[in-house]
Symmetry: C2
Subunit: 502 residues, 2 copies
C-alpha cells in the first residue's frame, strides 16, 4: 500500500502526496492559504503545548496583540519594512455595500491597516507604555497567532500566505541580558526540534546580509531534509536598541538615567510540520514522532461477525482503560479506539499513512488468547503477537524507543551528508553545479550540505545566487582553522554551512 | 485600597477601571482592537483548555481554516451577508510600495478578501469536499481563531474589532441529529458558564427576528450582569440545509439518494471574560473564579531584613513543593511565588486587584511558627493565621468552596432580580421607562429582567426598540400558561425574558 508517488522518484510530488494521504492539510479556495485538517492541527497543538511549557519554565508569559498594524508603523520603520514590504496584506475598507448590482468594498479607512507579517512594531508600542524603570524589566512575552506574508509560490506547511506561529518578544535592561535571552530561546528551539520533533539541527548565526530586517544578530537552527535541502526551522533575533529607539521603549536605569531598552524576538511556525514530514515520512506515508503524535496508540477492532462485537469491544475497553494509566515521556498517553464502520484493513492503512506510532489490531482470537497484534510504524511489515500484559508493560518503552530511533536515524543521515572535504572553489562549483546525490542505507555518493570556509563578505551573495545555494548559517562550533573561501579562494577562517534550501 | 471608581457610582467607568487595574487588557493603537495582557490572556487560556476538553469528550476535533474569505462567497450568501456586511474588514492589496515619497498599498487583488467575521461559508466549502456518503457524517469540527467585526463603539472584551473565539461547525445526515448537536453544544456552554465561570445563565431560543443570519434556530445562554443588563454569553445555531445548499454539501444517503447535509455552528468568545468581570468583580477589583484563575494561590514573601531572606524562601519553597501535589477540581493546582523586588503590601494589593482567589503572606515569624497568613479574595479584610499543615490540608476545599460560593451568590442575585409580577403593558412600560433599581445585600426595589408573555410577532421589535430593551430569549422552561403580551396586551402564551443588554 505504498504511496502513488515515491520519494526517490519525485520528491516535491511525494511531499504533496504525504500531506494529502496523511490527511494533514489541503489547499483552500482562499488563494495561497491552507486548511489544516485535524491530524495536522493535532500535531501543531502538541508542538504548541510542549513549547509553551518550555516558555513558561523560562518565565515567559503569553499575551495577545492586534493583528492589524497601522501603515504608519511601517512608514517609520524603514529598514524593517524593506524586508516585508513586498508581501503584506493590506486592509483598506471596513464594510461591503451593494453597488452596481453586486457587493463591493466600502467605508474606506483613513489609514490602511497591515495584517501582521510579524509583530515587532505593534508589540514595541505596548512595551513603550509598560516600561518606565529598570524595575519593570525584563518583559518576557510570547504570542501564539496567525500571520500573513503574501507568498507567490505557496506550498502546504512550508510556505502559505497565512500561517500559524509563536513569536516571542522581550525587553531587557542590558545588551548582555538580551543576547543571553536570544541564545536561551534558540536553545529552546534546538530542544524542541531534536527532542520533540526528532529532527536534528545545526545551530548558528546568519550572515550579515541574511539577518532579520532590523536585527543586530539573527541566530537560527537549520535542519536537513531527506532530499538534502536545508530548512530554516527557527530563528531568534537580538534586536539591540533598534526597535526600542523607533518605538521609544526607554527606562530609567539604576544610575537614574534614561536609556533605551534592548529587545529580542524569536519564532517558529507551522513550517516545522513541513520539516517533520520531510525528515521522517517514507513511501508508506507520514511517520509522526510519538511526542507530537495526536494519538500514540491506535486500537483497531477486527470484527467480522456481528456476534463477536460485544466480546471484542469489552476486551478493548478493558485494555484501553489500563493503557490510559501509562505515561510515556512522563505525560498522559494519547490513545484512540477506532470504532468507525469501516473495514479494519482500511483503518490500518489509514493510520499507517497518518503515521500513528503504534497500531494494535484486536479480534475474537485475541480475546481468547488475552493478547493482541501490534504493528510499529517504524518496522512496517513486522507484526508482533503479544500478550496483553507484555503489551501494557512495554508500551511506554516502545514509544520512547521509537522517538529515540527516529532522532538517531535522522542524525546519522545528516552527519553522513555534510561534506567537509571540498577545499577549492573549483571543486565546490563542480559539486553544486551537478545534482547532488544522497546517502542512505549504506549507499555512497555525493552529499547534500557542504561545510567549508567563507571570507565573510556580503558581495559573495551573487556567487551563491548563481549556484542557487545559500549560506545556511555560521555554526556555533567553529574550528578556528585557516583555509580558503569556497566562493572566492581568498584566505578565510569562518566555517559555514552551504546548501540548497526551502 | 478600593478602586478609584466605585461600581455603584458609575458602572461603565468602574468596568474600565477593573480591566485596567487588574492588568487584563488595554486599548491598542490599532483602532478598536485590544491588547490582551498576560492575566487576561491566562484566563482565556484556562477557558479554552476547559472547553477544549468538553469538545473532545463530545467527539469534536480541532482544525484551522483560512481567515481570508473571497468576496464571492459573500456575494452568493445573501441572507448571511445581510447580518455582517456593515462590519467587515476588506483586504484589497497585497504589498506596499514607495510612492510619492511614502509607503502606499500596491498590488491590487483581483478579488477582494474578507477577514472572517465568522467561518460558515469557508468551512462549508471544505465540508463539501470532505462529505460524499452518509458514512462520512457526522463531521464534528471546532476552530480556535481570531475574527473581525468592524464595531463602531469598541469596549475591552465586550466589543472589539478583533476578538478571539471558538467556532464549532458540524455536518449531519439528518435534521434531528443536527438539532440534537445544536442543543448538546448549548449544554456545553451552560456548563462552561455555570461550572467554570461561576456565571449563572438562562437557556433559551432567540426570537425569529433575532436569529443568526442564515440559521433556522438560534439557541443562546443569557447571563445577568451586576448592573441588571443581560449579556449574550454564547449561541448555538441549527442551520438546517441553508449553508449546505449554497456550498453544495451533499451526500449519498442510506437509500442511495443524494441529499443536502444538515449543519450547525456555535461559538463563544473573549466576550465571556467581560461577563466574568461584570458578574464577579467588586470595588476592590477583579475576582476570578478558581477554575479559570491563571494562579489559584499566590504566595507573597514578607521580608524586611535581608538576613531573613534565605530562611523565608526555603520555607516558602518547601510549602510550594507540597502545594504542587494538590489537585483542586481534580486538576493540577496553579500557584505563583511572587519573588519580584517590590514591597509585599504592594504585591498583596496587586494580586487583590487581579482577583487571585487565595493570597498567602509568609514572613520570618511564620517560619518560626510553621504557619502562614491566608487572605481569601471573597472575604477581604479577614486575615487567617493557620498552620502549614492546616493550610495544605484545606487548600483544595477552600478553592472549591470559593468556586461554589461565587456561583451561588451570582445565582441568588439573578433569581432575585427577574421580576415576574408585571402583567400589563402599562406596568411594563412604566417599569422600563424608569431607571430600574438593583437588589442586593437585602435591599429591595425594582429589578432588572422581566419574565413575562409575548405574542411572538416580529412587528413588536419596534416597541422594544422604543423602550431600549430586547427579548433576550424564549427560555426552555415554559409555563404554558395563558396571559397578556407585555408589549401589546394581546393574548399570549410564550414566556420570554425582557431586558436591557450589552
Amino acid at each position: 500500500m505504498t504511496l502513488k508517488t515515491k520519494r526517490a522518484e519525485n520528491y516535491p510530488a511525494w511531499y504533496q502526496c504525504v500531506v494529502s494521504e496523511a490527511d494533514m492539510a489541503e489547499n483552500s479556495v482562499s488563494p495561497g492559504c491552507m486548511v489544516i485538517k485535524p491530524w495536522g492541527y493535532g500535531i501543531w497543538e502538541r508542538i504548541r503545548d510542549l513549547m509553551d511549557e518550555e516558555f513558561r519554565e523560562t518565565d515567559h508569559e503569553n499575551a495577545y496583540f492586534p493583528m492589524f498594524i497601522p501603515i504608519s508603523f511601517f512608514r517609520k520603520e524603514a529598514e524593517h519594512v524593506e524586508g516585508f514590504a513586498k508581501e503584506m496584506a493590506v486592509v483598506t475598507h471596513s464594510k461591503l455595500t451593494q453597488k452596481d448590482g453586486t457587493l463591493q468594498p466600502d467605508g474606506e479607512l483613513d489609514e490602511p491597516l497591515i495584517v501582521r507579517p510579524t509583530s515587532e512594531t505593534i508589540i514595541a508600542d505596548s512595551f513603550s507604555k509598560w516600561v518606565k524603570s529598570y524595575r519593570d524589566l525584563p518583559v518576557l512575552i510570547n504570542q501564539w497567532a496567525n500571520v500573513v506574508r503574501w507568498e507567490m509560490r505557496p506550498r502546504l506547511f512550508l510556505r502559505t500566505r497565512e500561517f500559524l506561529w509563536q513569536e516571542g518578544h522581550t525587553a531587557h535592561s542590558s545588551a548582555l541580558e538580551a543576547e543571553i535571552e536570544t541564545k536561551r530561546m534558540l536553545e529552546v528551539y534546538r530542544k524542541t526540534s531534536e527532542e520533540f520533533l526528532a529532527m536534528p539541527v545545526i545551530e548558528g548565526v546568519k550572515p550579515e546580509y541574511d539577518k532579520f530586517p532590523g536585527a543586530v544578530d539573527t541566530y537560527c537552527i537549520e535542519a536537513m531534509m531527506q532530499d538534502g535541502k536545508a530548512l530554516q526551522a527557527g530563528t531568534s533575533h537580538f534586536l539591540g536598541q533598534n526597535f526600542a529607539k523607533s518605538a521609544n521603549i526607554s527606562f530609567i536605569n539604576k544610575e537614574n538615567k534614561p536609556e533605551f531598552a534592548y529587545t529580542t524576538s524569536w519564532g517558529v511556525s507551522t513550517r516545522l510540520i513541513g520539516g517533520v514530514i520531510m525528515t521522517h515520512a517514507d513511501d508508506e506515508g507520514m511517520v509522526v514522532p510519538p511526542r507530537i503524535a495526536p494519538y500514540q496508540v491506535v486500537i483497531v477492532p477486527v470484527i467480522k461477525k456481528a456476534e463477536d462485537e460485544d466480546k471484542v469491544m469489552a476486551y478493548i475497553n478493558a485494555i484501553a482503560s489500563e493503557l490510559k494509566q501509562k505515561k510515556p515521556f512522563g505525560e498522559k498517553i494519547r490513545i484512540k479506539v477506532d470504532k468507525r464502520a469501516k473495514q479494519s484493513v482500511d483503518k490500518f492503512w489509514e493510520w499507517t499513512r497518518k503515521g500513528a506510532p503504534i497500531i494494535c489490531e484486536i479480534g475474537p482470537r485475541d480475546v481468547e488468547n488475552q493478547g493482541l497484534m501490534l504493528k510499529n510504524r517504524l518496522t512496517l511489515g513486522q507484526k508482533e503477537l503479544l500478550s496483553k500484559q507484555d503489551f501494557l508493560d512495554s508500551i511506554e518503552q516502545r514509544l520512547e524507543n521509537n522517538q529515540r530511533q527516529m532522532f538517531n536515524k535522522a542524525k546519522a543521515r545528516m552527519d553522513l551528508n555534510i561534506r567537509k572535504d571540498i577545499q577549492t572553489p573549483e571543486a565546490f562549483k563542480a559539486y553544486f553545479g551537478e545534482s547532488n546525490e544522497w546517502i542512505e542505507d549504506g549507499k555512497t555518493g555525493k552529499v547534500a550540505f557542504v561545510r567549508g570556509k567563507w571570507n565573510g563578505k556580503s558581495e559573495t551573495e551573487e556567487i551563491l545566487k548563481s549556484l542557487k545555494i545559500s549560506i545556511r548559517c555560521i555554526p556555533f562550533d567553529q574550528s578556528g582553522s585557516k583555509g580558503k573561501c569556497l566562493l572566492t579562494g581568498e584566505d578565510a577562517t569562518l566555517d559555514v554551512i552551504y546548501a540548497r534550501s526551502y
